[in-house]
């Protein structure tokens, strides 16, 4: 007769525990930088990484502290008081945690559908939602009661609301477009919860900053694959009358993203390069401040300028661990850190 059969009843790697990340020596996350990792769309592997003052990265802090997954595709985060609010786009939830211990406080899920960004005023939070992404008429800003953690109202806005800014009792909403391509900035009155005005800007408004009563908006323009490519522009808008004071057009075929402000300079990203321009001058620069690909950045996905440093999140090929690159304002690489899947934004806790 022949060979024997063999079957091991238990021969699996269940015993390989998920490596439990250590907590920082201080015991909490009060001093340092949070990096939000989106995770793969549909894989429920969004996570938060923490970079402490000593330069050490701690990954998956949300699941380590709370023993549960954060959810699917974390889009952004916001701080208010002692809390951090994590906007989890594909899970249609907002996870409320303590910003120092990262312990879970509440999950907001009622009247939240495909949330994107959050801002705060008074005791309310305002969250941009796409609703059904194929329905151009159901997009809105949700009004969150911060005491009860329940959404109490919806303010209808145009398709694809993304980033939000609050100024003088109004919310400015950039309509990047969701599944389509937007071209306006909505002005919503907080007290009456109604739409006051709609400022036309070029296609795909992405980043916004406000300084001295002026709103600066960068519109990326429609990309070439839409077969309807349009030009990118940078706007300076007077918030007293919502009039465009100054507009700069980018060269044909160029599509910048992100807009950051530090001291009197604007920073934006184009083709993995970082550009800067002075607010006083308001002229586009032909040459970049620096090129990040020479340092190993493959896909410049997240960008932030804060207190003298430029932070870049590299998403690699979307299917590996990403990397964070930290530069000074003259473009010299200072630090590099490995984080988790598709890092997209930075939040500073100190």
């Amino acid at each position: 007769m022949l060979l024997l059969s063999f079957f091991a009843v238990s021969c699996t790697s269940d015993d390989r525990e998920t490596p439990k990340e250590e907590t920082p020596p201080s015991g909490d996350y009060a001093q340092g930088i949070f990096i939000l990792n989106e995770g793969g769309f549909g894989y429920s592997n969004a996570s938060v990484s923490f970079l402490d003052a000593a330069g050490q990265v701690y990954n998956s802090i949300y699941s380590n502290v709370n023993n549960t997954n954060l959810g699917d595709t974390a889009q952004s985060m916001g701080f208010e008081g002692d809390n951090a609010y994590i906007v989890v786009n594909n899970s249609s939830t907002i996870e409320v945690v303590n910003r120092n211990s990262f312990q879970h406080i509440a999950t907001v899920s009622n009247m939240i559908v495909n949330p994107r960004y959050i801002v705060f005023e008074g005791n309310k939070g305002y969250i941009s939602n796409w609703g059904d992404p194929n329905n151009i008429n159901d997009d809105y800003v949700a009004v969150l009661n911060l005491e009860t953690n329940l959404v109490e109202a919806k303010i209808s806005v145009a398709e694809g609301p993304e980033k939000l800014l609050i100024h003088n009792g109004k919310i400015y909403v950039a309509h990047k477009g969701g599944y389509g391509y937007g071209n306006t900035v909505s002005v919503v009155d907080i007290a009456s919860q109604s739409l006051l005005a709609s400022i036309p800007v070029a296609d795909v408004p992405d980043g916004m900053v406000i300084k001295n009563g002026l709103l600066y908006v960068i519109s990326s323009g429609k990309p070439s694959y839409t077969q309807d490519e349009t030009v990118a522009k940078l706007f300076s808008i007077n918030l007293e009358n919502n009039n465009v004071e100054n507009v700069q057009a980018f060269p044909q075929g160029k599509h910048p993203r992100h807009l950051e402000l530090e001291n009197d300079a604007l920073y934006y990203v184009m083709d993995n390069n970082v550009y800067t321009m002075s607010l006083n001058d308001f002229q586009l620069s032909q040459t970049p401040l620096f090129d990040s690909t020479s340092d190993g950045v493959e896909l410049l996905y997240g960008f932030k300028v804060h207190q003298g440093n430029i932070y870049i999140a590299d998403a690699k090929d979307y299917v590996s661990n990403g990397e964070v690159f930290i530069y000074n304002l003259t473009g010299d690489l200072q630090q590099k850190h490995s984080v988790q899947i598709i890092p997209n934004s930075f939040y500073f806790n100190n």
């Binding site: 022949l2 699996t12 592997n45 997954n69 699917d72 899970s91 249609s92 694959y225 299917v319």
Partner: protein, 611 residues
């Protein structure tokens, strides 16, 4: 836009004939080439055939059948959801599913979702590992699966009903009727399967939300011996399915997906002295609709109509030499919400020579010249030999060049498709050692596969995915299959096992491809005594990487799942069979895709009536 791509990727993610357990094992004796020439390359590669009781004892989806009975690895986004194979370390796009020999992979994605195939419509399923583009065309790089309607003659009128019901409101009803005389044979099969699929996730408080699915399959086959020289066969199949896609977390927006596929085939075989001429003409249609919000009627879709014609002429030069000439033509007409409407024509000419050198040695050489409008015209080849070295040891060697043309999505996706894409090319070699002693067969096959110009959608520096020819992949592997059967008085024991070891690396980064395990092991044990039989199936899937950098924290744990079933046959001729099954007997918490848990222990019962 990005989300649509993410959805596409969810869909995308591997001679001697071996019979499965509980069926009697027969050997291919001294058969003259003429009569068995329809199985191209059957003599130089190994084909596993699954039929009869194995089909009955497995759940209705093709994923489950192959997961427990073959070395093919599967990843599923939860039970019943999108399922992609990895056959010999390749991806879902490199596995071809054939229906009675006709390629039915989607022309839009280049893949088949194995949970859209209901096995009850077929009475035989063949699993052929390794490349076979010469015979089966584009995409046959990792392996092929052939769904077969086999007809018999002179068996009179037969009816069979199979009904099953299990937990989570899972039901299946299959009715098959057939009639055959000496010259005529018909078969019709109607089947419906569905489930609420609201299983609890083991070790958690959650349940699978929005996982309901249902599908209907109608299958028809007929064969007529017009006269002593001419045979005409007709096959048809209609499949309609709807699945709600289970949500990754409870509050996510619910989506659903529908499929409607039809196939028809007419085959005419003519014998003229030393010549056998076979003409096959087939049409297939496929249509998918994806509803991004289950509450809305809005959907995106893809639709392709295809016409396939195959002609083959076999000439028996002698009793030991067979020359075959063939010509193929395929026409695809595709349209969709995100692709341009395009018609595509493909043609190929094939020449093949088989020579039985002696009683124990045979070799075969085949060439296929493609003539395609857009994707180059490669010359493909396949060559191999088999040698019965001793009375229990059969050695087979083969090598082949195979390819895969870009899909409709790769070429014609609005704004992002690239019509300059080159086809993937694969060079393979295989050594297969096959042993047979009494009622036991054992095979160990070692293979090497080098795939270049791999077609993948990768993000550019602007973050947008575009299809490109990237990467070269090197695959080395070992496959082993064992079958044993032993009868002692009224006791019947059977055992089958498969084991696959696969190294599949991106040549540049030297990292294992994602969702390709190093190890996969399956085994089935059966025991029968008179009217009673009991069977146990076991599957052990090794760890897989889920990131291209093979990061250890993102490894999906290995898991084992086992099923147990028992059957009792009643009636004078054992026409009634009652069965009960326990799936996931050990209540293992496992997932084959990150964060998509599979069901824990659940029960099912079935009844099979023949009348």
């Amino acid at each position: 836009m990005k989300e649509i791509f993410y959805f596409l990727f969810l869909c995308m993610g591997f001679g001697q004939v071996i019979y499965s357990q509980t069926d009697s094992i027969t050997t291919l004796g001294n058969v003259y080439l003429k009569s068995v020439r329809v199985k191209d390359s059957a003599y130089i590669t190994n084909v596993t055939i699954l039929s009869d009781s194995v089909l009955r004892q497995n759940q209705a989806s093709l994923t489950n059948l192959l997961n427990y009975n073959s070395p093919v690895y599967f990843k599923e986004n939860g039970s019943g959801m999108v399922s992609s194979p990895s056959f010999r370390g390749t991806t879902a796009s490199q596995t071809v599913v054939l229906w009675n020999g006709i390629n039915i992979n989607s022309q839009t994605t280049g893949q088949t979702d194995f949970n859209t195939i209901n096995i009850r419509g077929y009475n035989k399923i063949e699993v052929k590992p390794g490349g076979s583009s010469v015979a089966d065309g584009s995409g046959a790089i990792g392996g092929t699966i052939n769904l077969v309607n086999q007809l018999e003659y002179d068996a009179g009128f037969k009816n069979e009903i199979f009904a099953n019901y299990g937990e989570f409101n899972t039901y299946g009803l299959d009715y098959r009727t057939s009639y055959s005389s000496k010259k005529l044979s018909f078969m019709l099969d109607l089947t419906r399967t569905g489930s609420d699929n609201d299983y609890p996730y083991p070790e958690t408080e959650q349940i699978n939300n929005n996982g309901h699915y249902q599908n209907t399959n109608i299958s028809f086959a007929a064969s007529s011996k017009l006269d002593s020289k001419n045979t005409l066969k007709v096959f048809a199949n209609v499949y309609k399915g709807r699945r709600n896609f289970s949500v990754p977390t409870p509050n996510a927006l619910k989506t659903k997906y529908t499929d409607f596929n039809t196939r028809s085939l007419v085959e005419w075989e003519r014998v003229l002295g030393k010549f056998i001429s076979t003409l096959k003409v087939a049409t297939t249609t496929e249509e998918y609709r994806y509803f991004g919000n289950i509450a809305s009627d809005f959907y995106t879709f893809g639709k392709v109509h295809s016409l396939i014609a195959k002609y083959e002429l076999d000439y028996a030069l002698s009793n030991r030499m067979l020359l075959s000439l063939g010509a193929n033509y395929t026409r695809n007409d595709g349209q969709g919400s995100d692709i341009q409407t395009e018609i595509r024509n493909l043609a190929a000419a094939i020449v093949s020579f088989k020579h039985k050198v002696s009683k124990s040695v045979l070799y075969e050489v085949s060439l296929r010249q493609e003539a395609n409008e857009d994707h180059g015209s490669p010359l493909l080849y396949s060559a191999g030999m088999s040698a019965q070295l001793t009375n229990f040891y059969l050695l087979k060697l083969n090598t082949s060049k195979n390819y895969r043309i870009p899909t409709y999505n790769d070429l014609y996706w609005q704004g992002l498709g690239n019509q300059n894409l080159k086809p993937e090319e694969s060079y393979q070699g295989e050594i297969s050692n096959n042993f047979k002693i009494n009622n036991a067969t054992f095979s160990v096959t070692a293979y090497y596969n080098s795939v270049k110009n791999l077609l993948r959608w990768i993000p550019g520096s602007d973050g947008v995915f575009r299809p490109e020819n990237t990467d070269k992949v090197q695959i080395y592997g070992l496959e082993s299959i064992l079958n044993l059967e032993k009868k002692v008085n009224y006791h019947v024991f059977s055992l089958s096992a498969t084991y696959a070891y696969t190294i599949s690396e991106n040549e540049k980064t030297q990292k294992q491809l994602i969702y390709v395990p190093f190890h996969k092991f399956t085994t089935s044990v059966g025991y029968g005594f008179k009217n009673f039989s009991i069977y146990y199936q076991y599957l052990n899937n090794g760890e897989v990487f889920t990131t291209t950098d093979n990061a250890p924290e993102h490894i999906l744990n290995s898991y084992m799942v086992a099923n147990l079933g028992a059957e009792y046959a009643l009636g004078k001729q054992k026409e009634y069979t009652l069965g009960v099954q326990v799936f996931n007997l050990w209540d293992e918490a496992y997932e084959s895709v990150q964060n998509r848990p599979m069901p824990g222990r659940n029960f099912n019962c079935y009844i099979n009536l023949i009348f």
